[in-house]
């Protein structure tokens, strides 16, 4: 008995040690399915997630984000910080040092000139770089020596990790791309379809909008990785088809973004060939309350502007009652299954920024009714609450056309009807709703409704710009072509002060405190934003594929060099 246990233990250890013992290319081929096909392998010329992620197999940045949102070095020897002197005291420069002995997949050495060139390539005035935002505020990038680059910002930058960090700003080879600057960028087909990189794989064949064939990079910095000799990335189909190919038929080892309804998830899991992995980022499905009056009886140009406050949603008690009537657990159950979790936070992640606010998770219909009574709204003859001034609690609730959102609308309408609020539903074509056309009355910015529902998130791990959207001067209106980001028309001097304080705070713990405070102001204290569901990313991988760690902060294929075949 004891011997058997010991043997089993040994076997388990051997199995766990297996990936580490594997040598490069020993595990054969891995098939990856992207339900949107790849059209280019240069992330600087495409903002499509699928293009950025697949190119991350080939080209890499200096540093990336791991699954917790922490920085880790890729091509850099270490992460520059204030402590190690890599970031200057005045926050205007950051100095990166490359790892020693890095080689491109064609065998030539990687130098600081390539890093400088990548910046020049993306910021060339004649070129339309899709990732220009990553280099915003960068004044210059200079090569100090063969392996050192110094990035200088035009103003102090509390978060200097934007340029050359993450899969959207990789390092490209100067020798290959030097004739592709500016307007010539898009014409360099050979380069854009087959970049020379430092990543674990290199392209062997690329059929645009169809399939990418790759093989292990012989010059990859870790001689034992990657475990797979070849990779095939196939594109096309839809989320359900992609999930089926992994979970039921087993044709593919990994499928990206398999967002399907919970019932179908359960059915596919029964297929037994694979499993779903989910990870939660900052994408929050929420209801936004309009603090201004959207009444169609107001003249055009004054509807939903700060000139006319909302007749009843300006009362915090009414907003709170509307939030209390919602059963978020049920919404998740109906709409997202494993791919969602109920939340009360506008900033649900990264962990250090997430407030411990969970009051809203239990539905409280009676409490909501009592709160409305307290606010002076009593049921009228038709059951709809009216206050002494004759203001009826009647809301127009809009969102985009999407099966899950329509289910949410039906459920929430039912709950609100129960507490005596009349609800009219409206669903708008997503192209129009999110289109931002100032001439259309149906955009989410115009907000010609009392409440509306959509999902939003922030880029990267720093919520500062996201929270700064709720400033008074960012209210959309006719004077700024309805382009503001402060959708609720929220305006609070105390909040503004916190935004200013956050911009000047460097210490990470203090920043986290401020972010939590601001999150609570918008959600549990005022209920201006009513978060419903924290929507995760859901992908599927085969039971025989090991090492998959889903990452929402960077490319999903961030650790593809560690993937292996479970034998």
């Amino acid at each position: 008995m004891r011997l058997r246990t010991a043997l089993m233990g040994a076997c388990a250890t051997a199995a766990m040690a297996l990936p580490a013992l594997a040598e490069r290319g020993s595990d054969g081929n891995v098939n990856i399915l992207y339900s949107q096909a790849v059209s280019i392998l240069n992330p600087y010329l495409s903002s499509g997630t699928k293009d950025v992620e697949v190119s991350s197999l080939i080209i890499e940045p200096l540093a990336g984000f791991d699954e917790k949102g922490n920085l880790f070095p890729r091509l850099a020897a270490e992460i520059p910080t204030l402590e190690n002197g890599g970031v200057s005291e005045d926050l205007t420069t950051i100095t990166w040092k490359l790892k020693e002995g890095l080689l491109w997949s064609d065998g030539t050495p990687v130098t600081s000139a390539d890093v400088v060139f990548s910046w020049q390539y993306c910021t060339h005035p004649e070129g339309g770089c899709a990732q220009a935002a990553r280099y915003e505020g960068v004044q210059s990038v200079e090569a100090i020596d063969e392996r050192t680059v110094k990035v200088t910002f035009s103003a102090p930058k509390p978060n200097p990790y934007s340029a050359f960090v993450g899969s959207t700003s990789p390092i490209i080879q100067k020798a290959q791309f030097q004739d592709c600057l500016g307007a010539a960028a898009a014409t360099c087909t050979a380069q854009n379809f087959g970049p020379i990189g430092t990543g674990p794989f290199r392209v062997t064949e690329f059929k645009v909008n169809d399939v990418v064939q790759l093989e292990a990079n012989p010059h990859y910095r870790d001689p034992e990785k990657p475990a797979f000799a070849t990779v095939m990335v196939k594109g096309g189909g839809d989320a359900a088809g992609a999930a089926r190919a992994v979970m039921e038929t087993g044709e593919f080892d990994y499928a990206w973004n398999t967002q399907i309804n919970p019932e179908l998830q359960a059915q596919m899991k029964a297929g037994g060939k694979g499993q779903f992995v989910s990870a939660f980022g900052t994408l929050v499905e929420r209801i936004e309350m309009n603090l201004t009056n959207p009444s169609p009886s107001l003249p055009e140009g004054e509807r939903s502007t700060v000139k006319h406050p909302h007749p009843f949603l300006t009362d915090a008690r009414v907003r709170k009652a509307l939030s209390m009537a919602i059963d978020r657990n049920l919404l998740v159950e109906v709409g997202y299954g494993e791919a969602g979790r109920p939340t009360c936070n506008l900033v649900p992640a990264p962990e250090i920024y997430a407030s411990d606010n969970t009051d809203c998770l239990t539905q409280d219909i009676e409490g909501a009714k009592a709160l409305l009574e307290e606010a002076g709204f009593t049921p009228g003859p038709d059951g709809i609450r009216v206050n002494a001034d004759g203001v009826r609690l009647s809301v127009l609730y809009q969102t985009s056309v999407n099966p899950v959102r329509q289910d949410f609308q039906a459920l929430i309408k039912q709950w609100w009807n129960e507490i005596g609020v009349e609800v009219e539903l409206k669903s708008i074509d997503p192209g129009v709703y999110f289109g931002g056309d100032p001439g259309s009355p149906d955009t989410f910015q115009k907000f010609y409704a009392d409440v509306e529902m959509y999902a939003n998130n922030f880029d990267g791990t720093d919520p500062e710009p996201y929270l700064a959207q709720y400033l008074c001067d960012k209210i959309p209106g006719p004077e700024n072509q309805w382009q503001g980001e402060n959708i609720n028309r929220y305006c609070d001097p105390a909040y503004e002060a916190l935004v200013r304080e956050l911009a000047q705070t460097r210490d990470i713990a203090a920043r986290a405190e401020l972010v939590k405070r601001m999150n609570d102001m918008l959600t549990k204290e005022s209920h201006v934003v009513v978060p419903l569901v924290d929507r995760g990313r859901l992908s599927a991988h085969s039971n025989t594929l090991g090492g998959v760690v889903l990452n929402v902060w960077d490319t999903e294929l961030w650790n593809v060099q560690d993937w292996y075949r479970i034998k």
Partner: protein, 311 residues
């Protein structure tokens, strides 16, 4: 025994009214009879059905635990057609949806027939109006239908919803939109018929005794073109129902919690693999109504044409 009682022959049979004649002919068309039966059955299902089956089509169980259990149920005595992904009763939804779809089909058809006949008769009878009216018809035919509908919905939805309520406003908007964009075929057919009829002897005779144009049209021309109008009308019902489905598909039709057959179909598509019944029922209803209406049209055309009648 040679005294055979007098047998009246067909020609001296008691004269029957024109409509009895039509019905007698209609009865001989088996497809049309079945079509009529199906059509009447469907109309009764959506109009009388809700009085018998009183569950609300939008009722969701307020108790979360019970609601989860009542989702996606197969057919049972509590819910003969099962329930949908939110536990709403599919039978009640089919009835409510059918009311809207059939009403939209009929009203839009009436609008487009009135318009089409008017334009066709005017263009065919009055030579001077022919050119302009037919060019107008060409213009409407050349207009892409869906974008036009989108613009109309965007421009008029809010003002109409304000004066007639969201459902009433949308109904009026949709039937008008479908009506004014589907009269062109009817107008062309009617014009052709009128052009031919106008040269016939009985019209010439009427004109020679000084009958005014209005009377000639009403008395001699319209009764003779009833059969092509009927046929395009039946086809019109079918295409109106389908257009409404398309609009619901795009989220431009009725409010999302307001079931129509088109929307039920749209909602069901996502669940087609797990619960095929969710798409089969509304799909079947749309197909049945379209087919039955087409057969009725076929039978009516035969019955209304005196040259075919009796043969």
């Amino acid at each position: 025994m040679t005294d055979v009682p007098f047998q009246p022959d067909r020609a001296t049979e008691r004269p029957r009214s024109q409509w009895a004649e039509v019905w007698a002919q209609f009865k001989t068309h088996r497809g049309a009879l079945i079509g009529l039966a199906v059509f009447v059955a469907l109309v009764l299902f959506v109009s009388v059905g809700p009085l018998v089956w009183t569950r609300s089509p939008t009722y969701i169980n307020p108790n979360a635990a019970e609601m989860i259990l009542s989702r996606n149920k197969p057919p049972s005595w509590q819910a003969p057609l099962g329930t949908d992904q939110l536990g709403r009763d599919m039978l009640a939804r089919m009835m409510a949806g059918g009311q809207v779809s059939i009403a939209v089909g009929l009203v839009a058809m009436v609008i487009s027939m009135v318009l089409g006949t008017l334009v066709g008769v005017l263009a065919g009878y009055f030579r001077r109006l022919d050119g302009p009216l037919m060019r107008l018809t060409d213009l409407f035919l050349a207009l892409p239908l869906l974008p036009l509908l989108l613009v109309m919905v965007m421009l008029f939805r809010d003002p109409l919803a304000r004066s007639l309520g969201p459902e009433g406003g949308t109904f009026l908007l949709i039937v008008t939109a479908i009506g004014v964009t589907s009269w062109m075929q009817a107008a062309r057919i009617v014009r052709g018929e009128v052009l031919a009829l106008k040269e016939r002897e009985f019209v010439l005779a009427a004109r020679s005794i000084g009958t005014p144009a209005r009377r000639i049209i009403l008395r001699h021309i319209l009764p003779n073109i009833v059969s092509p109008i009927m046929v395009s009308a039946t086809l019109g019902i079918a295409s109106a129902i389908i257009t409404e489905s398309a609009l619901s598909f795009l989220g431009l039709g009725f409010p999302p919690d307001f079931p129509t057959w088109g929307r039920l179909l749209f909602d069901g598509v996502e669940y087609i693999q797990q619960y095929p019944a969710r798409v089969i029922w509304p799909g079947l209803a749309i197909s049945l109504i379209v087919l039955s209406v087409n057969y009725i049209g076929d039978g009516l055309r035969d019955a209304l044409d005196p040259r075919i009648r009796g043969r």
